[in-house]
Every structure is written in C-alpha cells, then in structure tokens.
Symmetry: C2
C-alpha cells in the first residue's frame, strides 16, 4: 500500500532528479508516524482526562517506583523540557491533586515532587489504555516483524541515547 511519503518522494524525484532522496524513505516516515502517534495518544489520554504532558510527568514518577518521588531537576532530564515549563506543569498537576510538592529533607534549596494516590491510579489507567491502542496500531505487523522493526530502530536511536549531547 502506498503512503504519503511515497508521494512526497515521487514529487522530489520529479523536481530534483539530481538529488538522492532515499534517506527520506526512512526518516520522513519516522517523523510522520510520530506525528500520527501524538494525535492518537491525545485521543487515548482524553478518555482518562489527561493531557500528553500530564502523562509524561506522572509516568516518570510512576516508573521511579515507591515512594514515587523525584526532584524537578530529575523530571527535567526525563521529559526534556525546560525548568520554567516544569514549574508550570507541577503547579497545574498540584492544583489537580495528582502530585504534591514536599521539601527535600537533605537539601533546603530542593523540592521533591510526589505522586498522590489518585495520580498513581490515573497514570496506571492511562498507561493500560495507551498500550491497548498501540497494540491495535501494531497489529499490522507479525510478532517477528515487530521484533525486527524494534531492532532496526534501536540501531538508529542508540547513538543519540549514548552520547553526552
């Protein structure tokens, strides 16, 4: 089956026959698929009355394990947003009762952000919903194909994930 990238590549080959546009076959698909996934996730989370950014923060805390608390700085590095954004997010999640701020007992500059019981439940429910949705999307592929795809993608992500930058 043809997709939007096939059309895009065909247009480039017509307009710029001098260029080798083969890289777009892989990387444009990655970007476009990510965009589709963002939209699909937004819908899935909406059923649990969560925004994607809320899910990101709550699940970072959830993955940390009991007692489900991290500093704002640790949350920054996990979610890849800036500090001003994180302050704002924690404020809003606190207002909704999903997290709470505690003073860090070992550093008076610091703060710890802890999941409330409701925050934990909401994160767990939303994760289950997300996985159901993703399984449906991946039903296009066989188990073996999914494994292959994961391995190929890992080869591309590993260099990014294993350098200082």
């Amino acid at each position: 089956m043809e997709d939007e990238v096939d059309r895009l590549v065909a247009a480039w080959r017509r307009e710029r026959p001098d260029l080798d546009v083969e890289p777009l076959e892989v990387l444009s698909r990655v970007s476009r698929l990510a965009r589709h996934l963002d939209r699909a996730r937004r819908l899935a989370f909406a059923e649990h009355e969560l925004e994607p950014w809320e899910f990101d923060v709550l699940t970072s805390l959830r993955r940390a394990g009991a007692p489900y608390q991290l500093s704002p700085g640790q949350l920054l590095t996990q979610t890849l947003v800036t500090s001003g954004t994180m302050t704002n997010r924690i404020d809003r999640l606190t207002k909704k009762g999903l997290v709470e701020r505690l003073p860090d007992p070992s550093d008076r500059r610091g703060v710890l952000v802890r999941l409330t019981d409701e925050g934990r439940d909401r994160a767990d429910q939303a994760l289950a919903g997300l996985l159901d949705q993703e399984r449906a999307i991946l039903a296009e592929l066989s188990r073996a194909q999914r494994g292959e795809l994961a391995a190929l993608l890992r080869q591309l992500t590993a260099p990014f994930d294993n350098v200082p930058g």
Copy 2:
C-alpha cells in the same frame, strides 16, 4: 547496544510486571527518534538560516513545481497546521522576501503564495543539507536494512495516510 527505551521498558517491567509493554519497544522508539531528528534538523537548517517551519512551507511550494505557487488552504493540508498559524507564517516569510502573496485570478476570495527566486534557492540548499545529515544518521544501517526499515514503517503509516481522518 542498549538505548533509552531498553531502560524505560525495563523500568515498566519492574513496576508493572502484570502488563505487556512490548508495544513500547517499537512505538516509543519511533517517538523518541522523531524527537532527536527534530533537534538535528533544527541544527542543519540553522546553517542556512531557516527554521523548521520555514523549511516546511518553502519545500511544499518547491515540490509543487513551477511556478511554485499554492493557496494557503493547500499549504494547510500539506503542513498540518491551522489557518491562523499559516497566515502568520506567510506574513513572516513575506517579510523575509522568501514568498509573496498574489491575488488568485480565478477566485477573488483567494490568494496564491509564490516562492521568490531567493526562496527557491534557500529551499534547495536546505534540502541538500538535510539529506546529507540524514545520510549520516542512516549510515548505521546497510542498504538492505534501510529498505527493510522503510517497508516496515510504510505498513504502519499507510493506514493513517489512507483514511479520511
């Protein structure tokens, strides 16, 4: 080589051993890789003094072929932004002399956005730079692997690209 998703999946298996988190192996990698690509692209475009959104608009016009003009509405559907955003983008690109607005001769409500000569050159240069960068990222894989990867990704994107929504 291990990547960030391997760590993420391991954390979930520890915290939620009851869930099957296999879908994350594929789709979290897609999302994370897209994020890395966004950053890398921003850097590549900066060498040509272009923002990613500028590249999107200019190359949509470029791909249309001579005389390199489209209506704002056509640009909306290509770039997946809303109309207010597109008005703003066209305004800024006009100020930079990369596109110009022309009245649509066949519909007085309408406008045509046309690439200037400079806009066309900038789009061509930025595309070449982007392809060089993407080739470097894909050098991790053999030609055959790239083909496999493109085919697997097409299977996932095609359903999104070929439905009304």
